[in-house]
C-alpha cells in the first residue's frame, strides 16, 4: 500500500496597517499615486535622516495582538534586518526580531466541521519595501518607493495547519478580526494582506517534522490553495524517489501553476540582525493595554451572538452577514433607520447575495447606502410598492445607490390602490378572456392565475397582487 503523508503548514502573514502615514515618517500611505510621490529622506534611507515611530502603528499592533489572544510585550524594540536589494534603499529593513510586540496567541478556526486552535508564535511590526516594476523595453527594473516605509505587522503562526481548508479558514479568520478592528482592509489582490506558506510533509503518524520550504508571491486564496497542493506533491515525489527536500524559498507562479527556487540556504541568507540604534525602546504599560482593550470594537463572534439574540436572526444568516464587517455595518445602520432588522436581513441574504454572485463581487464592494435600503424596506412594508417592483428598484439601489422614494415617484411605480380603476381593468380582462373565466367556473383553479397575470400586465405591474386576486374572485 502507498504511504500516507501528512502536510504540515505554518503561515507568515503580512498585513499593511491602515494608518494615514508611514511607520517612521509623515509621508502619506495612499495607494496608487505617481511613482515616488510619497517619499522623503527617511523612507528612502538618506544618510543622516532619523526615523520617528508612528504611535498609531503600535496601537493597531496591540489591538491585533489582543484580538488574537497574544501576550503584549511590556518592552519591545526594533532591529535591523540587513539585505541588499533595490526595493530597499537603506540596505536594511527595520523590523523586530528579539523583542516583538506580541507573542503566544491563538485564533479559533472551523474547517471541515471541526473546530481547532491555530497558535500564533509571535507578531512584529516592520516597514514595507518599495515596488519593482520590470521594464520590458530596455530590460531594466524601475523602482517606486511609495510603499517603502508603509507599516506592516507580520503574524507568524505555529505549524498547526494540516490542509488547504484549515489555511483558508485561518486566513479568513485573521482577515475578519483585522477588518473588524479597522486596522487594515486586508485586500489580498492589492497586497495589503500577503501570506508566505511554510510547508513540509511527513509520513502519517510520525512526530518529527520534515524539511520545510517557504513559498512566496501568493496573492489570492485560490493561488494559496494551488501552491499548497503543488508543493505537497513535489515534496512527496522527492521523498518517494529517495531524494531530500532542500530547505529553500520558492516563488509560486500562478500562471504556470508551479514554483521555482528563489534562493537556497547556500546563498548566504544571513540577515545579521542587530538592535536599531535610531529608535528608542517602547515600554507598554498595563494602563496603555487597558486603554486599547477598552477601545476594542465588537468582534465578529460577539456580533453573531448578539444578532441571534437581539434580532432573532437565524445562525446561518447571522454568520453570512457578520462574515463581512462592511455588510454588518450596512445591516445595523439600515435596521436602526427602519426598525425592521429581519426585513433588512432578507434583502441582504437573498437579493444582495444573488447580485454579488452574479457580478463576481465581494461583500466589501457593496456600494449602496443603508439609508436607501431602509427606505426600500419601508416602501415595501407600507405596500406602497409590490414585491416585484421592489426587486426591480433594489437592483437600481445595488447598482447606483438611487433614492428609492424619488425613483418610485419619478417612474410611477407606486401600487395603484384605486379600487375603481382596478375593477374596471378586471372587468375588461374577464370580458377579453371568456375561456379562462369559463375554465375557472368549471373548477380549474389554475385559470385564475392567468387572469391575475393579465390584470397585472394591464396595470403595468403596479397593482397589489393580493388585492387583484381577491377582486378577481369576487367579480368573475
Amino acid at each position: 500500500m502507498a504511504k500516507q503523508y501528512e502536510t504540515v503548514i505554518g503561515l507568515e502573514v503580512h498585513v499593511e496597517l491602515a494608518t494615514k502615514t508611514k511607520i517612521f515618517c509623515s509621508c502619506s500611505t495612499e495607494f496608487g499615486k505617481a511613482p515616488n510621490t510619497h517619499t522623503c529622506p527617511v523612507c528612502t534611507g538618506m544618510p543622516g535622516s532619523l526615523p520617528v515611530l508612528n504611535k498609531q502603528v503600535v496601537e493597531y499592533a496591540m489591538a491585533i495582538g489582543l484580538a488574537t489572544n497574544c501576550e503584549i510585550s511590556k518592552i519591545c524594540k526594533f532591529d535591523r534586518k540587513n539585505y541588499f536589494y533595490p526595493d530597499n534603499p537603506q540596505n536594511y529593513q527595520i523590523s523586530q526580531l528579539y523583542l516583538p510586540i506580541a507573542r503566544n496567541g491563538y485564533v479559533e478556526i472551523e474547517a471541515g466541521g471541526r473546530k481547532k486552535k491555530v497558535r500564533i508564535h509571535e507578531m512584529h511590526m516592520e516597514e514595507d519595501a518599495g515596488k519593482l516594476i520590470h521594464d520590458e523595453w530596455d530590460d531594466t527594473s524601475l523602482v517606486d518607493y511609495n510603499r517603502s516605509g508603509v507599516p506592516l505587522v507580520e503574524i507568524v503562526s505555529e505549524p498547526d495547519m494540516r490542509s488547504v481548508d484549515e489555511v483558508i479558514a485561518y486566513l479568513e479568520k485573521l482577515r475578519m478580526i483585522i477588518q473588524y478592528l479597522g486596522a487594515s482592509d486586508c485586500k489580498l489582490q492589492e497586497g495589503s494582506m500577503r501570506a508566505d506558506v511554510n510547508l513540509s510533509v511527513r509520513e502519517a503518524g510520525t512526530e518529527e517534522f520534515g524539511t520545510r520550504t517557504e513559498m512566496k508571491n501568493l496573492n489570492s486564496f485560490k493561488a494559496i490553495a494551488r501552491a499548497i497542493e503543488g508543493e505537497r506533491e513535489r515534496q512527496i515525489e522527492l521523498i518517494e524517489e529517495g531524494k531530500a527536500v532542500v530547505q529553500e524559498t520558492r516563488r509560486w507562479d500562478d500562471n504556470k501553476e508551479s514554483s521555482h527556487a528563489m534562493r537556497s540556504k547556500e546563498d548566504a541568507q544571513d540577515y545579521r540582525y542587530f538592535p536599531e540604534p535610531d529608535l528608542v525602546p517602547i515600554v507598554i504599560s498595563d494602563e496603555w493595554i487597558g486603554q486599547i482593550r477598552a477601545r476594542q470594537p465588537e468582534l465578529q463572534t460577539e456580533k453573531l451572538e448578539r444578532y441571534k439574540k437581539e434580532f432573532d436572526i437565524p445562525e446561518y444568516d447571522a454568520k453570512i452577514i457578520t462574515g463581512s464587517k462592511h455588510m454588518a455595518d450596512i445591516f445595523e445602520a439600515a435596521s436602526a433607520i427602519c426598525g425592521k432588522p429581519k426585513k433588512v436581513s432578507n434583502w441582504l441574504m437573498v437579493e444582495t447575495l444573488r447580485l454579488l454572485k452574479d457580478q463576481g463581487m465581494e461583500p466589501e464592494e457593496i456600494s449602496f447606502s443603508p439609508e436607501n435600503l431602509a427606505k426600500l424596506v419601508d416602501l415595501t412594508e407600507s405596500r406602497a410598492i409590490n414585491s416585484s417592483v421592489a426587486k426591480e428598484v433594489f437592483e437600481k439601489i445595488f447598482a447606483q445607490d438611487i433614492d428609492p422614494e424619488i425613483y418610485v415617484e419619478e417612474h410611477g411605480l407606486k401600487t395603484v390602490n384605486d379600487e375603481g380603476a382596478l375593477e374596471e381593468v378586471i372587468r375588461k380582462v374577464i370580458a377579453d378572456n371568456p375561456k379562462a373565466a369559463e375554465d375557472y367556473h368549471s373548477g380549474k383553479e389554475k385559470a385564475l392565475g392567468a387572469l391575475v397575470g393579465q390584470t397585472m400586465k394591464a396595470m403595468k405591474g403596479k397593482a397589489d397582487p393580493g388585492l387583484v386576486n381577491r377582486k378577481l374572485r369576487e367579480m368573475i
Binding site: S26, N36, H38, T39, N54, D135, D139, L142, L279, P281
Partner: protein, 97 residues
C-alpha cells in the same frame, strides 16, 4: 591570538558583504577579525548574569509621532540623485526574472 578565523568563514563573510577579496586582503582581514574577537572576549570575563541586555545608551523610551500627513510630493528631491531614471522611477539593472 586565541580566536582563529577559518578560510570558510572569511569566504562567507565576503559573500555577505558583497566583497571580492584578494588572497592578501583575506589574510589581513582574518588577522583583524581575530584581534577584534579577542578584544570582545575580554567582556566574557565579566559576570553579566544580573545585567539586562542594553540596546540603547540613553534612558529614553516611547518617542512617538502622531499619525498626520505633513509631507508633500517628494519625488523631485528623491529622484535628484538618481544616476538613471525613467517614468519618475529609479532605473536599475534587472532584478526580477
Amino acid at each position: 591570538m586565541a580566536n582563529k578565523i577559518s578560510d570558510e568563514t572569511i569566504e562567507y563573510v565576503g559573500i555577505l558583504a558583497k566583497l571580492e577579496l584578494s588572497g592578501e586582503e583575506k589574510e589581513n582581514a582574518k588577522a583583524d577579525m581575530e584581534k577584534m574577537l579577542d578584544y570582545i572576549d575580554i567582556l566574557n570575563e565579566l559576570d553579566t548574569d544580573m545585567a539586562e541586555p542594553m540596546s540603547h545608551v540613553f534612558p529614553i523610551h516611547n518617542v512617538f509621532r502622531e499619525d498626520a500627513v505633513s509631507q508633500a510630493d517628494g519625488s523631485e528631491d528623491t529622484l535628484a540623485n538618481a544616476p538613471l531614471k525613467k517614468d519618475k522611477c529609479f532605473k536599475v539593472p534587472k532584478t526580477i526574472g
